[in-house]
């Protein structure tokens, strides 16, 4: 039975490697810019949702305010770049650290809240962050920041002529987030998180440091999401508060994981692979993001999933059976 467990872990790793290899070949065949764009966003949201899943799925602290960390990553990178000439790679790291620290600072009071109260707090905090950036003159206020284009370069991480470099970075982000999850799943932290999610009182009685395991999950989760935010800022080369810290980002991080299977290793990837292309294609076909058709699709999907498969699509693949000895 230990062998089963080890085999399952190895199998996950092999599947991930194969999928990555296939994905890495895609730009050789797909030259259409619109399709490339969709693929990049899909990979990015897979990575973001995977990171969100660490705090909200594994540790059970549902956050609908992760747009804050996404925006902080974007803003830290671009403020450092435009004001101080710091290369985006360092800005990315700085954004991650800033977000992780802020996530822990916010966790200190808010991890005392449970359930819905915690969710509400995350929404409110992200909205406050949005308002602060709206009014912060030095950071461009509502006008935002335009990233000066200084020619294609890996050093400055900007590419005006081709989207392919962004594709590979998004792929890397998704891989890193997946691998971090895979690795933490079979660690003390992974077990602590699931225990905290299922029953904090029992966890405490078994020596689990409930508060610090939430803090740890928040820090890892916020760091990775901020890296995603930095990437997005470089990718779109213009940021303003709404376009990197809007509530829709919080939703778009949560939905793939919920659709695919919250608290599962593959859920976010699967969810993003279905949801993001669907969203982007409908947006493309029905014109603009104002029409709301994409929102109707989210809504319908969520209703269908919660009715038919409340544990997400992954529950179709792996469901420990009452009698069975495998998982």
């Amino acid at each position: 039975m230990d062998k089963n467990f080890a085999a399952r872990r190895r199998r996950d790793l092999i599947i991930a490697a194969v999928l990555t290899a296939i994905a890495a070949l895609v730009p050789l065949f797909v030259k259409d810019v619109v399709v490339q764009n969709i693929l990049i966003l899909t990979l990015m949201y897979a990575g973001l949702s995977q990171s969100w899943n660490i705090l909200s799925g594994y540790c059970g602290q549902i956050s609908l305010g992760h747009a804050l960390y996404f925006g902080l990553g974007a803003y830290t990178t671009e403020l450092l770049f435009t004001k101080f000439g710091v290369l985006p790679w360092f800005g990315m790291l700085a954004g991650g650290v800033v977000s992780a620290l802020i996530a822990m600072g916010l966790g200190y009071p808010f991890f005392r809240l449970r359930g819905h109260y915690f969710v509400i707090a995350t929404i409110v905090i992200a909205e406050i962050g949005l308002l602060l950036f709206h009014n912060w003159e030095w950071a461009g206020a509502a006008m935002g920041i335009t990233i000066p284009i200084r020619g294609d370069s890996w050093l400055k991480f900007q590419f005006a002529r081709s989207k392919v470099p962004y594709f590979y970075f998004a792929l890397l982000l998704a891989c890193v987030a997946w691998f971090v999850t895979w690795w933490l799943e079979d660690s003390k932290w992974g077990f602590w998180w699931r225990a905290v999610k299922d029953n904090p009182d029992a966890a405490e009685s078994l020596g689990v440091d409930v508060f610090n395991s939430k803090m740890g999950a928040a820090a890892v989760s916020a760091f990775l999401v901020a890296v995603g935010g930095s990437f997005y800022a470089q990718f779109v080369s213009y940021i303003d508060p709404e376009s990197v810290m809007g509530f829709q980002f919080s939703l778009l991080m949560a939905l793939p994981a919920v659709l695919g299977g919250i608290g599962t290793l593959w859920g976010p990837v699967l969810g993003a692979a279905i949801l993001i292309p669907l969203t982007e294609i409908t947006r493309f076909k029905f014109g603009g993001s104002g029409s709301g058709v994409d929102l109707i699709i989210y809504g319908t999907l969520i209703v269908l999933i919660s009715l038919a498969l409340p544990r997400g699509l992954m529950s179709l693949f792996s469901r420990p059976k009452k009698t069975g000895a495998t998982r």
């Binding site: 039975m1 003390k188 077990f191 602590w192 299922d198 009182d201 009685s205 020596g207 689990v208 420990p320």
Partner: protein, 243 residues
């Protein structure tokens, strides 16, 4: 020999309600002690104070020679206090083995060792065949057993059992009794809260009867059940005379 656990003049008030008043008990190493008493006697409160769910209003709790009065539950677990819950609190979305691994991680930082320890405990508690089943799919008696297994995986010096035998069929209860005896044989001290006198009394070395938040009587089970004060606490004053 010093006691493993001692409560010294412990009080617990909830607003105007006094749940424990001046409770001083001690549990020796290797003993099985039963904590009994009618409903509302303050057993669960005392139990929670010992486990570290909340600090007492007054008094102190000494475990293994150390004052643990102000330590939270997790820290007490690290020092060797394991507990079960009266209302079972399994990690429902996790498998049985994963539930137990959480406990095993207290003393094993390497996952491989924690997993091995967890398997060992499942063998010991007779849950090995159910290792890969989700905790939510266990029947109630198995869930009780899982509570014990999880606590044992933390390698406690003192195991606190909160009504683990209550609500079981007679056969299940007998298996439970056998398990508690087996636990003691491994050198673990047991303090158990129990309702069902006829099951507990043959099992424990010593019984402590609580009533109205105070220690009423303490002694050998055979003596305790004959004590008029105990009979009147359970059955009312009328019955005490005839006993």
């Amino acid at each position: 020999m010093t006691a493993l656990l001692e409560t010294r003049g412990v009080w617990q008030r909830f607003g105007g309600l006094v749940a424990n008043s001046d409770v001083s008990i001690s549990v020796g190493r290797g003993e099985i002690v039963g904590l009994i008493g009618p409903n509302g006697a303050g057993k669960s409160t005392l139990f929670n104070l010992i486990a570290g769910v909340l600090p007492p209003t007054q008094g102190s709790i000494i475990f293994d020679g150390e004052d643990v009065t102000n330590l939270p539950a997790a820290a007490r677990c690290q020092r060797g206090v394991g507990r079960t819950f009266q209302v079972v609190k399994s990690f429902e979305t996790m498998t049985v083995i994963d539930n137990v691994i959480v406990g095993a991680l207290v003393r094993n930082t390497v996952m491989r060792e924690a997993r091995r320890k967890a398997h060992e405990v499942l063998e010991f508690t007779g849950l090995a065949a159910r290792a890969d089943v989700l905790a939510s799919d266990l029947v109630p008696a198995e869930k009780r057993r899982l509570e014990v297994a999880r606590a044992l995986a933390t390698e406690p010096k003192l195991l606190l059992l909160d009504e683990v035998l209550t609500g079981l069929t007679p056969t299940e209860a007998q298996t439970g009794v056998a398990l508690v005896r087996k636990v003691r044989e491994t050198g673990i001290t047991v303090l158990m809260v129990e309702h069902v006198m006829e099951i507990v009394m043959p099992l424990v070395d010593r019984a402590i009867v609580l009533d109205l938040g105070k220690v009423l009587v303490e002694g050998k089970p055979a003596d305790v059940v004959r004590d008029p004060k105990v009979i009147s606490a359970y059955l009312g004053d009328r019955h005490a005379v005839g006993a």
